[in-house]
Symmetry: D2
Subunit: 303 residues, 4 copies
């Protein structure tokens, strides 16, 4: 797994991000810490003392958890080191957890698929044409079906079949790929295999799944069949971080589409594809733009 | 309970409905029967033989249940008796369950409330100003809070308090009111008491509830607190027929509203009011317009 | 231009459509005629007399235009000829305009593009994976940019550049392609050229465009810049039949997405892509499924 | 017209707002000024120096206008005077336009109506039951129709009829009421009269209208008839500040509802009522919560 941007920042030097005014770079800083007076002032004061310009800023204090969350975009001539130095007093005095990255740096992403193409096609299209800040460094399929799509977009396709007997070996291969490819984010794009608890734990906060129902309705298998049987009038999709607790991870985004009595299960599957791909795309984009922060088993999303 | 329009039709003679062309009345016919060839032709042929004009017509055959559903609006100079006579061969040869009513006849409705006003205010407003075809013949509250609103709209308010000890007596009083007031439809407009299994059974298909979640998510008590805890990104409401199986009755309508991490439980309650009242209003309107047909534990809604 | 299914039906014999029960085919019939009593009975009676089974049926009488519209899907062992024979008395006695096609037959479609990929990618994906009943027989671009996408999906790409001087020649080439490829539907998938009045007239009802605004707001050029300047809170897209009257053709479908003050024009363009592609996809699907009927300068859409 | 909260603050002393921690009050500060480095730090630094706790904060820099906007909620033991003193250096050095008010203080509001009840009913209900921070100090009708609703909610109803001859006198009466009742906000709740240019100018930024179309589509009279004729698939509503330029004022909020070909103009009017009332309610709430700032002819809405 790639060393996270927090602490050292190889990406920042190799991929300098959007140049704005002459010689300046735009950075995104996310912090969380116990809530209390003076946090915003400490962070923005440190930046103002340097003469840096804040272009976007959002905060949230959660009364339930007692935690404070903040996301700041700042235009500066400073190096990463200089920024960290300027901010360290604030980081230290409030006990902040923080991340600092260059705005628009493309997050190294591994996409896992099975046979359904819609989410993969959508993500690759958005990377190529819509400026989604991800760099899909590989596609893993437990079937061969989507090799041609991956390769059309110039992405290496790795066939890692999974059977009951090969599950452990398959997961070991996944771990190898994550390491070799310096992967920062794993996207389960309708990947129909369940990751082991251990892998979920090791990649906590770095794996995003799309579940084809409006969670917590219709957990588990065949959610559209469940939805049809219950006679719901809207079907939905949920994108969430993966934890060992199946379909229970922190929700990043949800959306729905209206259906009526005339729709068979196969229609729900087809209609659902559109909801799934746009819900997953939003979640991946927001994660890659450092807009999603964890607040216990909930998320803060600074859209 | 009011004698349903099926069989005899006192309403048809006392409330002759919208007069359209000189001397004609517009009727709504709903039928269901086992699916097969010739159903639409039999019904529409009988009407065409009389020279009557179909103004609206919808059908649905459910492959799962093998049942066929149809709703027809027809403009005619015929009396109810003449219409039934013309249609009886079709009714008989296909084993149809049917209802025949005058379009726009206001359905005699009893609204049950507790303390929350939003659904009651909305229904009474829609009856008075928006042409919703209901005639609210009384409001029952287990608290006194909403008496003034009911009375402003000229509706008798019945205070029927419910405690553990008086529950049976309260329900007996409800039954009396349903009988005395010739009630055709009971609406639970955020009524915070659970009806007994027996009452649910006796009023099957005639009681509509609004549940303040997107069912089947968050059944039972305090759904907004559950939704907040789970960190969902959309909250919803579900209007359904009441059965003995709590929050499991056939769904008529659902809707949702977007929320984010910054919303406390109290905000969800407030935002939810808007979703609840519009979801309930649609369900009640469609029921009163004979647009909702039961297909097992699912509904067919001809919107 | 391909001979329309109305009159003779080469497609019916070459592409026999979904076989259902042994030896039966499912057909879709659309009719329009002046409104009056007996239309539904005449059509459904003719089918019932043959013992054919209606699986889907919708009607609409427009009080404004005095026209009646109907769409019927019917399962039958009849040939096209036998069906037409059975229905001809109804067609004749009500002066019906009608079309008869096999359900699911893929409509021969030519897609015109410029540089923006999102609509083309989406249509080709939906043809390949989502069962949209179109057969894209060619892609025309006035730029070369999208050749690779077309060819990945196995579609011949025709580069037909357009300048002020070559406009007439380019349009002649378009007409040739429409003829040679037996094209039934032309889709302008963000094609940034305006067709001549004459071509619009010749292909009336057979050309679908996607306009990147919520018409009639922001007609003409740069609608997202106009929308940004006006400070709207929702942006939209409109799919419509093309007429000589720019951006004024009959609307098939519209949709919107919420935006806020923080969005620059470039953001609106990017957000708009999602609205455009789903709006266009619905319009093309409904057209290809014979769900869209013209009612003067408005459309009837039997969804 | 009531003296705006900016400058002096009678409301702050008479209506002390939500008490939070012992002896503290929550204030809302809005500022706008030319964009540049150090603005957030200056404001939050001044509050942090006092030990005050920021509970909500949003910023936006508009590259188009070069202006910066900020909204801060802060919990403090300070008086208004002490707060202003602490912030004055920031106000002065950045040339800020600012307002300071107590969170939740109810804004003195005059509602103008004609015959349609839906918006008035909704606003009065939300004031009474939903905590919308307005104090409706009077209702003005150019017809008597809505007197009973106003009086049910305990609101004085002023009948100010308007004819061509009495228009000037009617407007003079409006101005009197605005003065006498110390009105801060005027809401045109489907008021079917046009205010004079002069009155619009004098009350600039203090009058909110609901227009029954998705502006800029269908300006002027009978927008639903226009929408029906154009065959749109979504109808909408727009809430905006009133300026002398009819239907051209800065947009605060917009929403839409799906319709189809089967809807007559009267149906659009009825469906539109729901869109209108919720669009207007959001605009009024956001204004009353000081979430709407003017950015030229556009608005910044900190939701």
């Amino acid at each position: 797994m790639h060393e996270p941007p927090h602490g050292s920042a190889p990406h920042a030097t190799t991929a300098p991000g959007p140049l704005t005014a002459a010689g300046t770079t735009e950075w995104v800083l996310t912090v969380s810490c116990p809530d209390g007076p003076g946090i915003v002032a400490a962070v923005t004061g440190a930046l103002a003392a340097r003469g840096d310009n804040i272009t976007e800023s959002q905060q949230f204090g959660d009364p339930a958890s007692g935690l404070f969350f903040m996301r700041v975009q700042v235009e500066t001539t400073a190096t990463r080191e200089e920024l960290v130095t300027a901010l360290t007093p604030a980081f230290d005095s409030f006990g902040m957890t923080w991340e600092l990255d260059v705005v628009g740096r493309r997050v190294r992403t591994l996409v896992l698929v099975s046979r359904a193409a819609h989410c993969l096609v959508d993500l690759l299209y958005r990377e190529r044409s819509q400026g989604m800040p991800i760099d899909v460094v590989g596609v893993v399929g437990n079937h061969e079906d989507l090799r041609d799509i991956a390769e059309f977009y110039g992405k290496p396709f790795h066939h890692v079949p999974v059977t009951k007997d090969t599950k452990a070996a398959a997961e070991a291969r996944l771990r190898e790929l994550v390491d070799e490819l310096d992967v920062e984010l794993v996207v389960l794009a309708r990947y129909m295999q369940i990751l082991s608890d251990e892998l979920c734990r090791d990649l906590a906060g770095k794996v995003i799944n799309i579940h084809h129902s409006f969670l917590p309705s219709f957990k588990g298998a065949r959610p559209y069949a469940q939805a049809h049987d219950r006679g719901v009038k809207l079907i939905g999709a949920t994108s969430h971080y993966v934890t060992g607790d199946l379909d229970e991870g922190p929700i990043i985004e949800q959306d729905v589409e209206r259906v009526d009595h005339s729709r068979a299960v196969a229609d729900l599957v087809s209609i659902g594809e559109d909801v799934e791909r746009r819900t997953l795309a939003r979640a991946v984009r927001w994660h890659a733009e450092h807009r999603v922060l964890l607040d216990g088993h909930r998320t803060v999303v600074f859209r």
